[in-house]
Point group: C2
Chain length 442, copies 2
């Protein structure tokens, strides 16, 4: 008999079936035992004679054969996909045993502190709400790819081992690369741009790294960057248009998961950073007009304003100061101290960053020097521009940040199945002898 | 006027259009200049009065406005998608200039040595045949995901920074991780298995790393692993069935790219490693019966045999010796010295490896010790098994290897846009002062 999934059982009334899954709960009622069996599609109520489930406990993995019966009307459970039926077990096979649980991890509201949640990730990931976070995350990635494919973007694999550091100088992880120095990539920027000259429009789902020596609710050492780059733009506004389309589709594609996704309004407002600072001054009295960036508090405030004025949970902030952006950022010809760059904020947090890039070889060389770097270090990258690069730009979506904002999670670590930070890789880190191991028996 | 793509031009006879792209070739014929303009969809012949393209050279990026005209019958070029038309240029705008090319890189048969090809990757990637490699690679990845989604697998993001080394002891890259030791992942194995207990079926497109101190045509330091894992298998044969379906779909999805994909025959043969060794002995006289693995030469030979006997360019080799596989590999209950594991060879090269895993907690703990490792180092991973793990297994496809074999490339480095090895990250590596850089001007 072929295994069927729990959600399929209502199609088999009065028929023998085989199901398999984990024991979600066990309730003993004297002469019968009720087991809620959990598989990837949901729960199924199984009615068992006690003798065939004698030692069975929560999280045991079972294979059960039996008869599907319609439940009497008054016992139908509308909250379960299989609520109209139950399985009368005839035979139970234990596929795997389970130790006693350290806490009840299948309750809807798990309510654990973050370290406990993460220390027990292999267990807590089974919780339906936790699991749902990663269905949301999966949907966001796939929607990103779907929109870009529909716009004729080509997907490629960007490398994570890089020879130089293009984005930020300090916060980078060093790798012992044979006899050489190498680093973990902070962004696939360089490689996106190189690929442009063959494909015009490219994207990549990349892992990127920040060795930031601080612990916040918004940063991790490794995160997923949904990166795209497009050539032959007529204006840098094309980039924000594409971002807006991507995010509209992302939120629409999340509808089946029944989440209160952020509102975009009729269109997402676009304002300059300096305008945002003035609005914040008016609204709060906080004078940050001379700051080169918005603080987390400012990002919250300007999002409230966008929500009130435009009915949008999102807002584009544009024209960040030239000297605070990477060397390849395109300065606004009308006011060269500011760049044709943008951040997209959602519910108070930056989830996308992007902008037009310098595509002219001479300008780029000049800027590399001006930013204090050696052009030698960039000779590979510079070839893409030396031999003709169209006007172009791009952007990067932070996967875990979007997931966090969509689900209103408190900490970005909840949005990563295996978050890494200063103090954690899987478990909390401990100083000690190297954990390098032997894999094969000699 | 909105830019149209080259391939769209035949739809606009006698109409004014705007196109944009790179100068693929320039041919001067006295009073007119012919330019083949290249965009992502192909070439378009543009007829220009000399005065509007005076300084234009190869790889210049142009935006051209003009009139689309049907070509006279005798000048139609059937090899070009736009061969029935040409553009009579009225106005040409130079979007970017290009330096003189170091070699002709748009010829169909590029015929460069590998170092030159890779040193000039930002340029050589524009070559149509090189570009096509990465369209093949893109298609393989997307097809892998498509098949697995259709089988209800969940996609997740596996981390690349790992605390311990599960696969091979020596060939691993060390990362300076804050005050701690960490490594680049050799496989998402541990994380795939953990995710199983929530999702039953998972996959990930992961980057994985090997610090192998050798240079071969089959290995790179960073490569792309298409990894899947499935629970509730009835038999380990389910895993090979799924692999075969994936690869059949992959090759079918490559059809539009007009490549002579490998043949699978009616079904891909499955034989034990020891049987393969006997067949090789019979065919060649090479006695490798006592070897624990097939040599590259043996892999070639057994593929020739499969081709002759089954009309298949692929073959599954099963039952590798237990002590030569990682600790989590499931031993065959009928002959415990051999595992329920397999490699899939294609045209003489391993492109997939997989097998059933130990799902029983006690057995796994025993094996971790037997393989000379500390269970402490695996306490995070072991939780997944402690609390009930169904029978399961999985496999990993090497993206660049499949691409190489499908296209009959000589070296795997050709199948990666940015290959990394002992001597190369973008450019050939040189000893010298650290290349760590400042990104923002102070």
């Amino acid at each position: 008999m072929k295994r069927i999934l729990n959600k399929e059982t209502p199609q088999y009334p009065d028929q023998e079936v085989r199901v398999a899954g984990w024991v979600n709960t066990r309730r003993d009622h004297g002469k019968i035992v009720f087991i809620d069996l959990r598989d990837r599609t949901g729960l199924l109520q199984v009615v068992c004679p006690p003798d065939i489930v004698k030692d069975v406990k929560e999280e045991y993995v079972l294979e059960i054969e039996g008869l599907i019966k319609k439940r009497p009307a008054h016992t139908i459970n509308k909250d379960m996909v299989t609520g109209e039926v139950e399985l009368q077990a005839r035979q139970v096979k234990v596929l795997a045993k389970a130790a006693s649980l350290p806490f009840d991890c299948m309750e809807k509201d798990l309510n654990l502190n973050l370290p406990t949640l993460l220390n027990h990730r292999p267990l807590t990931i089974r919780n339906p709400e936790v699991k749902n976070i990663f269905k949301v995350s999966e949907s966001i990635v796939e929607s990103f790819r779907k929109t870009l494919r529909s716009l004729d973007f080509t997907e490629f694999q960007a490398p994570n081992i890089v020879p130089v550091v293009a984005e930020g100088g300090a916060d980078v992880f060093h790798i012992d690369y044979y006899k050489y120095d190498a680093y973990l990539s902070q962004s696939p920027q360089v490689y996106k741009q190189i690929m442009l000259s063959a494909f015009e429009r490219v994207f990549t789902v990349a892992h990127v790294y920040r060795a930031e020596p601080s612990v916040t609710t918004r940063h991790m050492a490794e995160f997923t960057s949904l990166d795209a780059e497009m050539a032959f733009i007529d204006s840098w506004q094309d980039l924000m248009d594409t971002c807006e389309l991507i995010i509209r589709n992302m939120f629409a594609d999340l509808k089946p998961l029944k989440i209160g996704v952020p509102e975009l309004g009729r269109e997402v407002p676009r304002i300059k950073m300096r305008e945002a600072q003035k609005i914040i001054l008016e609204r709060t009295g906080r004078n940050n007009l001379k700051e080169p960036d918005l603080s987390p508090e400012d990002e919250q405030e300007i999002c409230s304003w966008a929500r009130e004025k435009y009915g949008s949970d999102l807002i584009f902030i544009t024209h960040y100061p030239t000297l605070k952006r990477p060397f390849y950022t395109f300065a606004d010809p009308l006011e060269p101290d500011y760049t044709l760059s943008f951040d997209l904020l959602c519910r108070g947090l930056e989830i996308v960053t992007g902008g037009q890039r310098i595509n002219e070889y001479d300008k780029l060389v000049k800027n590399i020097k001006k930013w204090g770097n050696k052009t030698d270090s960039f000779c590979f990258y510079l070839q893409a521009f030396k031999y003709g690069m169209p006007p172009e730009g791009g952007f990067a979506f932070g996967l875990e940040r979007i997931t966090k904002q969509v689900l209103n999670l408190k900490n970005i670590r909840e949005a990563s199945p295996f978050p890494r930070d200063m103090e954690r890789i899987d478990n909390k880190l401990k100083k000690g002898p190297s954990t390098r191991l032997r894999a094969r028996k000699k």
